[in-house]
């Protein structure tokens, strides 16, 4: 009956996730990526790409955010549960935006 914490946890099927320490080199690299991304997005806004401008801007922003989530927020080194949790949040946000759009895209387009 009296068991140690570790064996109890193992029996319950909990993942014993080894704490992975991300070092300064990785962080510095990601910082560089983010700075480059910022420069890119500012530069891209000065180029006329027609309807692709907002697409490029969002794409760059999503990429930057992904790097922050993966490395600064350690999701790359986290358990499946954490990754699923982040995914669930993003998914729900996309449902909110996407399905609201299904209404707006199919009716009078701001023609008050």
């Amino acid at each position: 009956m009296a068991e140690t914490h570790e064996t109890q946890a193992a029996e319950a099927g909990h993942e014993e996730h080894e704490h992975h320490i991300v070092g300064p080199k990785v962080y510095a690299l990601i910082l560089l990526v983010l700075l480059v991304g910022t420069a890119l997005t500012v530069g891209a806004s000065y180029i006329d790409m027609g309807p692709w401008n907002p697409v490029v801007a969002i794409a760059i922003a999503c990429t930057k955010a992904t790097f922050v989530v993966l490395f600064f927020m350690h999701i790359k080194y986290s358990s499946k549960l954490m990754q699923l949790t982040v995914g669930a949040g993003v998914f729900t946000f996309l449902i909110l935006v996407g399905m609201s759009l299904s209404d707006y895209i199919s009716r009078a387009w701001g023609l008050w």
């Binding site: 009296a2 946890a9 319950a12 669930a88 949040g89 449902i95 009716r107």
Partner: protein, 553 residues
């Protein structure tokens, strides 16, 4: 009538001296507690208080509707009364009801833990609830709100002079209470299960609250931002919902209903969890299709996010959106139906007894089914155009929320009352109350389906005289319903002192909570259990009892 109740010998039995209630004394030990069971009791008291207030509003509504003219109150006052009724009943009663009371109390014990993951956040959750409730009361007393609980723009942003801002803030604060409760449940169920307590050994009550918790965490913030924007529009005039400035009033509704539809599942799922436990216990049978019921809870939570615009069919959304959301609404009915089927099959060839929790559960199954089926009529956009904003809608949601959820809540309160207090409630009068509630409910709300089909609009204080007969029926039913709700409040309090001593497991139910003393110890278990038995394993329970009997001998 046969019964499965098995109480200890009343001559010698005593409520255990050391339990979570007697552990510490003094007001502060309750107000600053981290014990999930004490917090559950704190919630129980506050929720009952707000139920009274919402109920009083309901009484006023039914009184006004006795006559076709708006003679009891002016129309403006009537608007305030039904608005407050909705806000109090939904945000301050139904949403927290089962999760904050039964969920808080039982989930840690059911999974074999000593407490929730974040006890301090649990306490904070209660204080946020009180703050939100206090703000709502303040708004009520200082003039009220008259927009309906749906705060439809631009009425709420431009055309009323009532306490929209205060009430919006109140709901914003109360929403955080909900978010923190959900957050706590998710982390607890994921990470604090006892050894051997796998996901598929969890009681269905835990699955149901887990699914509801996901909805609380993901849905509530959207209504929060909706209210923030309304507040900004009213105070500064930002114009996001104002057509004159190019805003779209419908955007508010999209944001509002994105939460408020999942909110109805936040309200009903925990009730469904209760019903799973009660039906299994009083049919002495494991729930039929456990996996299906467990997954259907999660399915309801997920699909529940895809259907919100079925509340907006006549509001000006596009035909294409009507199509999409109507179709998806048909889909979300399926998991709920699966549950009803599974509960029915659980009853089949079960050894059924009719104690009070079971009576309420039967009431739930019948009334929720009717309410749910009428939801299908409303999800069909063609019929919805005729029925929406009439009393048909009012009847629909009262069938699922009152005939369904409130009955489930009462079922759960009675079922776990002996566990939470150590005392049994008086069976005969409680059975009477359950029957009175059922009769009163049907008299109150069934005529409203007819009224709706005949065309009586909702939220009107005055109506054409030909609708009076049905309205009188409804109000008469409401008075019976009121008696049905008053009785438990009286006898439950009475039972605290005079009820029979319950013992550990008066219902001979499975589940870890029934293997502990009633009321439980503050730390729930002397030692954390190691779970080897299946969920709803009545054979295991029999063997335990035989084991005890031979031991004593």
């Amino acid at each position: 009538m046969s019964t499965i109740v098995s109480l200890p010998d009343q001559a010698t039995a005593r409520v255990p001296k050391r339990n979570y209630i007697t552990e510490e004394n003094g007001l502060l030990s309750w107000l600053l507690t981290g014990d999930h069971k004490r917090i559950a009791m704190l919630y129980m008291g506050s929720i009952t208080f707000f139920f009274f207030i919402g109920g009083a509003m309901a009484g006023l509504i039914r009184l006004e509707l006795l006559t076709p003219m708006s003679d009891l109150m002016a129309s403006d006052t009537y608007n305030k009364v039904f608005t407050m009724h909705g806000i109090v009943m939904i945000f301050l009663f139904l949403v927290p009801s089962v999760p904050a009371t039964l969920g808080n109390f039982l989930i840690p014990i059911m999974i074999g833990a000593r407490d929730l993951a974040f006890p301090k956040i649990n306490l904070l959750s209660w204080y946020l609830y009180l703050a939100g409730g206090a703000l709502a009361l303040y708004a009520m007393i200082t003039g009220g709100v008259d927009t309906g609980w749906t705060f439809t723009t631009p009425l709420s942003t431009h055309y009323v002079n009532t306490n929209v801002v205060t009430t919006g803030l109140a709901i914003f604060v109360a929403g955080f209470s909900s978010i923190f409760t959900g957050l706590n449940f998710i982390v607890t169920i994921h990470r604090m299960r006892a050894p051997g307590m796998t996901w598929f050994k969890l009681p269905l009550f835990c699955w149901a609250n887990y699914a509801a918790a996901i909805l609380m965490v993901l849905g509530t913030p959207v209504v929060a931002i909706a209210f923030v924007l309304v507040l900004l529009e009213r105070t500064i005039g930002i114009g996001v919902f104002d057509p004159q400035k190019g805003g779209d009033p419908l955007l508010f509704q999209h944001l509002f209903w994105f939460y408020s539809h999942p909110a109805v599942y936040i309200m009903i799922l925990p009730g469904m969890g209760v019903i799973s436990e009660v039906i299994s216990t009083f049919a002495r049978k494991r729930v039929f299709g456990y996996t299906a019921v467990a997954f259907s809870s999660v399915a309801i939570a997920v699909f529940g996010f895809f259907v919100w615009a079925h509340h907006m069919f006549i509001m000006g959304i596009s035909n294409y959106a009507m199509l999409v959301f109507s179709l998806l609404t048909m889909l979300v009915a399926v998991p709920s139906a699966i549950k009803i089927f599974n509960w029915s099959f659980t009853l089949y060839k079960g050894s059924i007894t009719f104690e009070t929790p079971m009576l309420y559960a039967f009431g739930f199954m019948g009334l929720f089914t009717i309410g749910g089926l009428t939801g299908v009529f409303l999800g069909t956009s063609g019929t919805d155009i005729h029925l929406t904003e009439t009393y048909f809608i009012v009847a629909h949601f009262h069938f699922v929320m009152v005939g369904g959820m409130l009955m489930a809540f009462l079922s759960g309160i009675h079922f776990w009352w002996p566990k939470m207090t150590g005392r049994m409630y008086p069976e005969k009068i409680s059975q009477l109350a359950a029957v009175v509630t059922f009769i009163g409910f049907n008299f109150t709300f069934f005529p409203q389906f007819l009224l709706g089909m005949l065309g009586m609009p909702r939220r009107y204080a005055a109506y054409p005289p030909e609708f009076q007969v049905l309205n009188v029926f409804s109000s008469a039913g409401a008075s019976i319903l009121g008696v049905g709700y008053l009785l438990p409040m009286l006898y439950l309090v009475w039972s605290l002192k005079y009820g029979e001593v319950a013992g550990n497991n008066p219902w001979q139910a499975t589940g870890l909570e029934w293997q502990t003393q009633s009321p439980p110890l503050t730390e729930n278990f002397k030692e954390i259990p190691i779970v080897t038995q299946d969920v709803y394993d009545y054979e295991w329970l029999e063997r335990q009892k035989e084991h005890e009997v031979t031991q004593v001998g």
